[in-house]
Amino acid sequence: MSSQNILKWGIRFYITLFFLYLFTPLIIMSAATFNDSRFPTISPWRGTTLKWFEELWNDSGMWQALSNSAIIAAGVLAIAVPIGVACALFLSTYRGGGKNFIYGLMLSPLLTPGVIIGISTLIFWRSMGVSGGIFLTIIAQTTFIAAYVMLMILARMQRFDRTLENAAFSLGATHLQVFRRITLPYLMPAILSAGVIAFLQSFENYNTTLFVKGYDTTLTVYIASKVRTGLTPAVNALGLILIVITVLLAAIYEIKRRHEARAAEQKAALADTAN
């Protein structure tokens, strides 16, 4: 065997190993859901059961946490998306001094550890008499999720052809008309995907939420507390359901993204032949 071949097989082996490493833990966790054992494990296998789904279904604490997480995610969506869009519009319009500073400031929440965002939010709002709870969780999560939204909208905004707006102006459209009929529709796909990501980010957050949740529990906090006290495979059942939902969402998102990318490519190719 030549050295080229050894290298090729070596790298294939490595890639296989990497994906095994990535997926085995998740598969083991999912499989443990069906084990009829009081503690979540796959060794030894004590028989296959679906009873842990039933236990999860009957757990009122889980439902409470789920509804809190949903309320928080909806709240984050409602605040972070408009902020992100506004900031992207600002960055794509403003030319002048201090722009780099403002941009850096907008990125800073992404480079700040989540626990610190939670702590500073907690301290700031307590000084105004607001204590931890659902409202504060929404605020704290918005702090960094808005930055993600901003980056995603900005990426699309950079490919925007401003002559479209100018054309509408010279045809007599008002500012509001241009904004509603040209700019916003163009941004819509990015706004939707940013919304999906904002929702997921909020739903999955733990490190920030932990500090500002007060006496309320979110789904991730519920899982973490169950792992440490009173762990049963019901937690695995919840994990399995969340994984399935996430995989579906990620697949839809990815298919949509690729579809758009292909459409954009075709458009570009068409434009090329037209020239």
């Binding site: 490595y14 890639i15 966790m29 494990t41 400031l105 626990v115 700031f124 509001l176 733990y206």
Partner: protein, 295 residues
């Protein structure tokens, strides 16, 4: 500032944009941080004495860390462990990112990226929990090792820092893969071919062509993984034990068990300084700017 916005969007939308932006940057981003620093510089007083003669600025909350041997040990352990996690993820991810970006066919690469995205979307808590199951005393890993005869009795993986580091590498590895992949992908394949044609060996090609080009990606990956590791609460809480506490857990205890928010704020600010210090160090080391990182 207002004129440029208003020329493009009209005064109404321009006001809306500026209001939303200011609301976010002032109320959510800047003021909370400022107040946290202010808190960290004040003594922990009963409510009746706040604003009184004893409420002076002091560095005593910061001195605590220097006087507390245990906290100091944990602080440095957090740094070294986070660096270790960062280095591990970089070493594991580089060959993969190179393969995806330059060796694999477009279809293979697309499939692999999709396979990478799926675990990326799954909750940090769940990914950590899956290792909790694997590493537990009566878990599958111990069963496997026992079955194969490598060990005589189960190992307590979850009682030291080892479990925490394994969990972190797993939880944050994808934050390294994607920046690396994006950076290497943008390299023109002809440069690699040219280097090969001019007689450069594999190691030299990587060292002189690919790694210099991938610098912004390496820097981004390292910054993200370090920050996530040093600031992680979930992983040490799930996979650690009282003997392997993380710096974030001490901060949490100041807030919710010690009831000393001023002290907690000081520790939180130290953690923030550590992360900023790491970012600056990496940017200097790799000679990249903030603009390269956000891409």
């Amino acid at each position: 500032m207002f004129k440029q916005l208003s020329d493009r969007f009209g005064p109404m939308v321009a006001i809306g944009i500026l209001l939303l932006m200011l609301l976010w940057l002032v109320m959510l981003v800047v003021l909370p941080q400022v107040l946290m620093i202010d808190y960290s510089l004040r003594p922990n007083l009963p409510p009746s004495q706040i604003g009184g003669p004893n409420d002076n600025y002091t560095l005593s909350n910061y001195v605590t860390l220097f006087n507390n041997q245990i906290h100091q040990t944990i602080f440095f352990k957090t740094i070294w462990s986070s660096v270790l996690v960062t280095v591990c993820t970089l070493i594991v991810c580089y060959p993969l990112a190179y393969y995806l970006a330059k060796v694999a066919t477009p279809r293979q690469a697309a499939l692999c990226v999709l396979l990478l995205i799926i675990p990326f979307w799954i909750n940090e808590i769940l990914r950590t929990f899956s290792w909790f199951i694997i590493l537990s005393y009566r878990g599958p890993l111990n069963a496997l090792l026992l079955g194969m005869g490598f060990i005589d009795r189960p190992i307590r993986f979850l009682s030291g820092d080892g479990g925490v580091i394994i969990g972190m590498v797993y939880a944050y590895i994808l934050f390294m893969v994607f920046p690396l992949y994006n950076a290497i992908e943008s390299l023109d394949g002809n440069q690699i071919k040219a280097a090969r044609n001019l007689g450069s060996g594999w190691i030299r090609t990587h060292y002189r062509i690919i790694i210099p080009h991938a610098k912004p990606g390496i820097a981004t990956g390292c910054i993200m993984v370090f920050m996530l590791s040093a600031g992680s609460y979930a992983v040490p809480a799930l996979l650690g034990s009282p003997g392997s506490r993380w710096f974030t857990q001490i901060i949490y205890n100041w807030f919710f068990e010690g009831g000393d928010w001023n002290q907690g704020a000081a520790y939180a600010f130290i953690l923030l300084l550590l992360c900023i210090g790491f970012i600056v160090l990496v940017m200097r080391l790799f000679k990249v700017g903030l603009g390269d990182i956000a891409r």
